[in-house]
């Protein structure tokens, strides 16, 4: 294994593109799809209606856990207007996002595992008929005992387990790793503290309901979908439909919001493709809002236990972190999620010895998966509050204590993660000064809280093991026009604009001059899609390489003609180059460096670069009612380089919004085996009136490997918000709410306990006893930061 040679550093860039002479990078230009979006012209998947389209509805399980005894579709088939009805036996092949958990079927015919599990699908001439036909399908069930909590899943199942693989009882996955020796260190520590926390599950709630349209023409399936990852949908379709990849084309339609919720391949995508193949007609399925709650793949509920040893002055000496994740009924990204609940603690704080034990269980709920921050907001919440409490124990200012433990740039963590650029200090200073945090006065009912975070700029390893690039870009220039091709999917974060900006910068154009073809498996080269904040970094680097090659061709042709590149127009340059070289096409690709540590499970956590954030929340809290009003949020984010500051601010503000929603009101709750409130009225997403002012600071650390130094902005800034809210609440009322969301009733209860002289907190009382397997001991990396796995 070797480190990939770094792309040139800022200072090493050729010519005027070095230094700060950037023309379009760094400017607050409108996004390239802005006009389409403000005029209603952008075509989202549900806006597509090819001629003769059939409408599909899906029959779903009304039971959280049951065996299917029989399915009778005959009455449904007789309804006029019904063209096709399918069940699980039509789509028996299992799929799933991770190769190790291929446990889903597009339609279940043996067993259902949550209310909403798909059983049968109908294609009809309109939606009403399709729905009526679903109603007419008779299913006989043998109802099984549902498993609805982590504790229940750890126990012996009454009937049978939910999935037939995994650990004991309903355990899906265990992780147990130790880097260095923690126990001895705890013994020697000046102070050791233990805490238990719970982070409730919540969901993405994209405004756009998932939708997919498929056609089948000349033996070839074409699918338009609101997906974040055309490539993974492509793979799943090929597997389940048993078609070669080249007979399937997946196109990402304009995208109405993902946040991680459209990163798995979904049943409805496979179903419409199958129905199109059977009927020869276009078939469309748009999920209802209720079905979107069942599609889920949202934030895992996580129970956490953490023990930390510190010196008298607050230096962390060792940490032991345990997590238990409520995974819902299927694997989804769960194995990765489990690792993520333990991976990034070390990326913000220097932890010399670290032990992590994680466990994911199956329950009879819609599957959990990746939501903004994938598996890391929960431990971030726990870790930040835990350190806050340690600071209180020691009588040290919490900001100061955290600061003493900040990781340093260009180091390697005890679990082998490579940290390069790191703007933690700068971010902290920005929010401290702007919020006047240090000058705040103690005042009952008013509080301020501080927290930090870090996140990946793209996962260092792909979902399925391979040595190929993670992103590829091709550029074509002819007769003065430029087109860039890339499989990346713009889900609203602005990845198309980033690609156009990078190509424009290199070629001396404006982003609006660059035509883009993206997210189409037929016409664009691979990109692994919009998850793990990878697109700017990876597709950006691929675009940079392709554009620099193109620029080199243009420069060479212009100079051969006796001119300087700077003196001719782009059109002139392109004509000279096309005449000289023929077809002008260049390509670039990006493969992340192989920097994972030498142990099993090291694939989750490494990233070519980490973003950093710091946040201060100011709130008022009423002791009598427990009601909280957030007055203002200050947030500083180390994005490496803001390729477009408007997009970065938008990502940061949106992250703060979602973080506040999670902190204060959002909750994927269940009652009697059912989702308690699968509606936008009862699932509380903050309105205009619930959102405070946000002051955003962009910190640029110019990452050595990011395109122009860029890292990520879409996920990291969500993470510090929930713990900062809780720290502020403690500042205001003197109680700890160790459980997300912080609802007024929990605040009132904590205050009541405080009054009675009990511990002034609300939260889980204990962490269950979990039969973790023996811990795998991993030698920490040598202190020399340049050392790699290979050199050990």
């Amino acid at each position: 294994m070797r480190d990939r040679p770094h792309p040139p550093l800022r200072g090493d860039l050729p010519g005027e593109r070095g230094g700060e002479n950037l023309k379009v990078v760094g400017r607050p230009l409108p996004r390239v799809d802005a006009a389409a979006k403000v005029t209603g012209r952008a075509m989202y998947a549900d806006d597509l209606l090819p001629a003769r389209t059939l409408h599909c509805r899906i029959l779903r399980s009304p039971h959280p856990h049951a065996r299917i005894l029989s399915i009778d579709t005959s009455a449904a088939r007789r309804i006029p207007g019904v063209v096709a009805v399918i069940t699980g036996s039509d789509l028996p092949i299992k799929f799933g996002i991770l190769p190790v958990t291929q446990d889903e079927r597009a339609l279940e015919h043996e067993k259902v595992r949550y209310v909403g599990d798909p059983i049968a699908a109908v294609a009809a001439t309109d939606e009403e008929i399709a729905a009526a036909a679903c109603d007419a399908i008779a299913v006989e069930y043998e109802v099984l005992e549902p498993v609805m909590s982590i504790n229940a899943a750890l126990g012996v199942p009454k009937d049978e387990r939910i999935q037939d693989y995994g650990g004991p009882n309903n355990v899906h996955k265990f992780v147990a790793l130790e880097f260095g020796e923690v126990e001895g260190v705890f013994e020697r520590a000046d102070h050791v503290r233990e805490d238990v926390f719970f982070f409730q599950g919540n969901t993405h709630l994209p405004m756009e309901q998932h939708s997919a349209v498929a056609t089948y023409i000349d033996g070839k399936v074409t699918l338009w979908s609101s997906t974040q990852v055309v490539h993974y949908v492509h793979r799943a379709l090929a597997k389940v439909l048993e078609l070669p990849m080249h007979r399937i084309r997946v196109i990402g339609a304009a995208h109405g919001g993902g946040f991680g919720g459209k990163t798995d391949p979904f049943a409805h995508e496979i179903i419409v493709a199958k129905l199109a193949m059977m009927t020869g007609r276009p078939v469309k399925c748009t999920l209802t809002r209720e079905e979107v709650f069942y599609a889920h793949r949202g934030r895992h509920p996580v129970l956490m236990w953490v023990r930390t040893g510190v010196t008298r002055d607050g230096q962390i000496t060792a940490m032991h972190f345990r997590t238990a994740l409520d995974g819902g009924a299927y694997g989804s990204y769960g194995v990765a999620s489990t690792f993520y609940t333990g991976a990034l603690q070390t990326v913000t704080y220097d932890i010399p010895a670290y032990r992590f034990e994680g466990c994911r269980v199956f329950t009879n709920k819609p599957p959990c998966g990746p939501k903004r921050g994938h598996g890391t907001p929960q431990p971030r919440f726990a870790l930040e509050l835990h350190l806050e409490k340690i600071a209180h124990d020691l009588g040290i200012d919490p900001v100061e204590l955290k600061r003493r433990n900040f990781v340093k740039p260009d180091t390697r963590t005890v679990n082998w993660l490579r940290v390069t650029s790191c703007g933690l200090e700068e971010c902290t200073e920005k929010v401290m000064v702007a919020s006047r945090f240090r000058e705040r006065k103690k005042q009952a009912g008013h509080g301020m809280g501080f927290a930090i975070s870090s996140y990946l700029s793209g996962a260092g390893t792909a979902i399925y093991w391979n040595d190929m690039p993670h992103s590829e870009v091709q550029i074509k220039v002819d007769r003065g026009g430029v087109t860039a091709y890339c499989g990346a999917m713009d889900i609203g974060q602005g990845s198309d604009s980033v690609l156009a900006t990078i190509v424009a910068e290199e070629l001396g154009l404006q982003p609006a001059d660059v035509r883009l073809v993206t997210a189409d498996t037929d016409t664009t080269p691979i990109d692994l899609g919009s998850y793990s904040s990878r697109v700017t970094f990876m597709a950006g680097n691929a675009a940079l390489e392709a554009a620099r090659k193109m620029r080199a061709l243009l420069v060479e042709a212009v100079e051969a003609g006796g001119h300087r590149f700077e003196d001719v127009t782009f059109e002139e340059a392109s004509i000279l180059a096309e005449a000289r070289f023929g077809t002008l096409a260049t390509a670039g690709s990006y493969t992340p460096p192989k920097i994972a540590g030498p142990y099993k499970g090291s694939g989750v956590g490494p990233s070519p670069a980490y973003s950093y954030s710091a946040c201060v929340v100011d709130l008022d809290a009423d002791a009598r009612t427990g009601l909280i009003t957030v007055n203002k949020v200050w947030i500083a984010h180390d994005v490496g380089r803001a390729i477009n500051p408007l997009l970065v601010e938008g990502q940061v503000e949106g992250s703060v919004y979602m973080g506040l929603g999670e902190a204060l009101m959002e909750e994927q709750a269940f009652r009697k085996g059912l989702h308690k409130w699968p509606s936008m009225l009862e699932y509380k997403s903050p309105t205009f009136l619930d959102m405070p002012e946000v002051e955003t600071f962009i910190v640029e650390t110019i990452d050595p490997e990011g395109p122009y130094g860029a890292k990520e902005a879409g996920q990291g800034p969500l993470l510090p918000v929930p713990p900062a809210v809780c720290a502020a609440l403690h500042d205001a009322l003197g109680v700890w709410i160790d459980e997300i969301p912080v609802t007024p009733e929990k605040v009132v209860e904590a205050l009541r306990r405080k009054e009675k002289g009990e511990p002034a907190r609300y939260g889980p009382s204990a962490f269950p006893s979990i039969p973790y397997p023996p811990t795998i001991k991993v030698e920490p990396p040598p202190k020399d930061p340049s050392a790699t796995a290979a050199s050990i």
């Binding site: 209310v115 209720e290 059912l674 699968p678 509606s679 509380k684 309105t687 205009f688 007024p744 009733e745």
Partner: protein, 275 residues
């Protein structure tokens, strides 16, 4: 016409309550009879005011006269749902809005999965399984205020001493139905309460009148202490159940707070006619 069609027909005004319920199959009917032909005006007299049932909540909440004399009513109308819903929703519809329950205001598929309850298609109550009756919550914002104002067919009458206030509790600043609310209308002579009505929203199946608190306040000076005690009395009969947002324990506790806030508003307010 409605009589002819019987239970298979329903009136619709703004449709903002009825249509979502039809989509969720909480009612199954063949015909809706539009009430667009009904008058929709606010008639302002010198000390009374008639609001036609067809007036939208937005118009009622913004009307200068209604605001000046029936502050509580204007506020209640302005706190219903969200701006676009208030542009369509009417005050007539708001008075008749169906009772709510989060076992019931769900899609057909969800209700089927949960097991139908007696309010529609079933025979038990899922909130209180041993109960012979339905506990769905009266969730109109303006109905309690109308009762507090002693309104007959939306004829709002004000005397010079008339004051009114409505306080609504909900999770978000908009969209959400009340999870507790207090409508108060009172006449004061100086700071002595001469008459008073306190009606609670979202704590029972109907707007709940707090008669003990009303009787207590009559003849009292409306000061902090009286407000405290009245609020305590008003909250006592409120029995929220676990079928709306947040826990019923907390909601019960909040009834006192909203009543207190509404009474404070009354005490801070000038009389109805100085607006």
């Amino acid at each position: 016409m409605a009589a002819e069609l019987g239970s298979r027909a329903m009136f619709v005004a703004g449709g903002t309550d009825l249509f979502p319920k039809l989509k969720r199959r909480q009612f199954e009917i063949d015909t809706v009879i539009g009430l667009d032909f009904l008058p929709r005006e606010i008639h302002n007299g010198s000390n009374e005011c008639t609001v036609d049932a067809g007036v939208t909540l937005a118009d009622a909440s913004r009307d200068a006269h209604v605001n000046a004399r029936f502050k509580g009513y204007a506020d209640a109308a302005g706190l219903v749902s969200s701006p676009p819903l208030r542009n369509a929703g009417t005050i007539g519809g708001n008075l008749c809005v169906d009772t709510r329950c989060n076992y019931y205001d769900m899609t057909y598929e969800w209700r089927k999965a949960a097991g139908f309850c007696m309010k529609k298609d079933g025979d038990i109550c899922l909130v209180a399984p041993s109960s012979p009756r339905c506990w769905a919550v009266s969730s109109s914002d303006t109905a309690p205020m109308a009762i507090a104002l002693d309104v007959m067919s939306l004829r709002l009458r004000a005397t010079p001493e008339m004051r009114s206030a409505y306080v609504k509790l909900r999770r978000r600043g908009s969209i959400d139905f009340p999870i507790a609310g207090a409508a108060v209308a009172a006449q004061l002579d100086g700071d002595i309460v001469t008459s008073c009505r306190i009606v609670l929203s979202a704590v029972a199946s109907y707007p709940l009148q707090a008669t003990a608190a009303e009787a207590f306040l009559k003849g009292k000076r409306l000061d902090g202490e009286a407000i405290d005690q009245a609020a305590e009395l008003a909250a006592r009969p409120a029995k929220p159940l676990d079928n709306a947002d947040l826990t019923h324990f907390w909601r019960k506790r909040m009834v006192r707070v909203v009543v207190e806030q509404a009474l404070h508003r009354i005490s801070d307010q000038g009389a109805g006619f100085d607006g």
